[in-house]
């Protein structure tokens, strides 16, 4: 039986206005995913221009946290075109076959002092690994800001195969730094 319009409209309006259904949204222009690695001892940095995230995080209830982050690997910015073309190729990210890297996690742990960690699955280039991402949280205006860094071992994800697997030239450890600004309030579930 169809719900009479006159009743449906106020109910829906109420549902969207209610804080119980409020959503946290990524503020892309303030968020960033950067990385740093060493080449022959020389620090090199870069970032990903495009990534999306669905995040829910309430510092008061970290165990309810949920995160899904997707990074478009082809959007890499190394400040050097030759390098950018190379890392999209097969030995590095193989962007044609694996355009996105993703992290999926749920249930953060509070470590005290504004520090947290979130365990989840990191998938890059067809390899999935369990990782624990550390982060700190602070309030900046209306936004919640979470940031941290994870030391990733590139060879565990087959990033840089063949001649590039030589870690004397490009170090195995890549420090991935993330900072996300979230607008809105966490859902009360």
């Amino acid at each position: 039986m169809p719900i009479p319009r006159l009743i449906a409209l106020p109910v829906l309006t109420l549902a969207f206005a209610a804080p119980t259904y409020a959503q946290q949204k990524l503020v892309p222009e303030k968020s960033e995913i950067r990385f740093a690695a060493k080449q022959m001892g020389v620090a090199t940095e870069g970032r990903f221009r495009k990534f999306g995230a669905e995040l829910e995080f309430d510092p008061a209830r970290p165990e309810m946290a949920r995160a899904r982050i997707e990074v478009e690997l082809g959007s890499i910015d190394l400040g050097n075109e030759d390098g950018e073309i190379e890392v999209r190729r097969k030995p590095w990210f193989n962007v044609d076959a694996f355009p996105k890297a993703s992290f999926t996690g749920a249930g953060a742990k509070a470590l005290g002092g504004g520090k947290f960690e979130l365990a989840g699955k990191l998938a890059i280039k067809g390899v999935t690994q369990e990782v624990v991402l550390p982060f700190t949280v602070r309030q900046e205006g209306a936004n919640l800001v979470a940031e941290g860094a994870y030391p990733l071992k590139r060879l565990e994800f087959k990033i840089g195969e063949g001649a590039w697997s030589d870690t004397d030239t490009v170090a195995n450890e890549v420090l991935v730094r993330y900072r996300v600004h979230l607008s809105g309030t966490p859902a009360k579930r």
Binding site: Q39, M40, N80, I85, E86, A163, V170
Partner: protein, 180 residues
Amino acid sequence: MMVARRYYSWPAVALHWMAALLIIGGFALGLSMVDLPFSPQRIKYYSWHKWIGITVWLLAVLRLTWRLLSPPPLLLPMPAWQRRAAVATHHLLYALMLLIPISGWLYSSAAGVSVVYLGVLSLPDLVEANKPLAAQLKLVHKTLNVTLLLLVLMHIAAALKHHLFDRDATLARMIPFLRS
């Protein structure tokens, strides 16, 4: 009173030939690395090239210091124009050994790549990353190197001329086993 020496002292000889080998090696590496595709080999060659350049600079400073402590032998008798040419060439060679590594370091900084000597010692960036400036510095580095190449060829030709045609001891001053 100090007696003027006939030959270069052994530290001067050792430093000269070390610098010669490094300059030739660094030059060859520089020529070959620019055409390499983006690869680990390219990254290695560029790093080695930079390390060699810094070493040549250090050797030049060391050699100039040594010249003050232990003056080189006087030039052998030769026409005044040759004397002037020899002195000018030596001055220019020293100037280039000091300037070329700095121009390379400047170029590397402008290209956004820091120089880490021997992969361990981080040198400061001399300028901020700047693509148009990098292109200009690349040209400066190249031009100075072409000048160095011409001067080195002249230096070698003059040494051989003294040894083979003038049959004097000029070359023996720098090569101990030529001394009789």
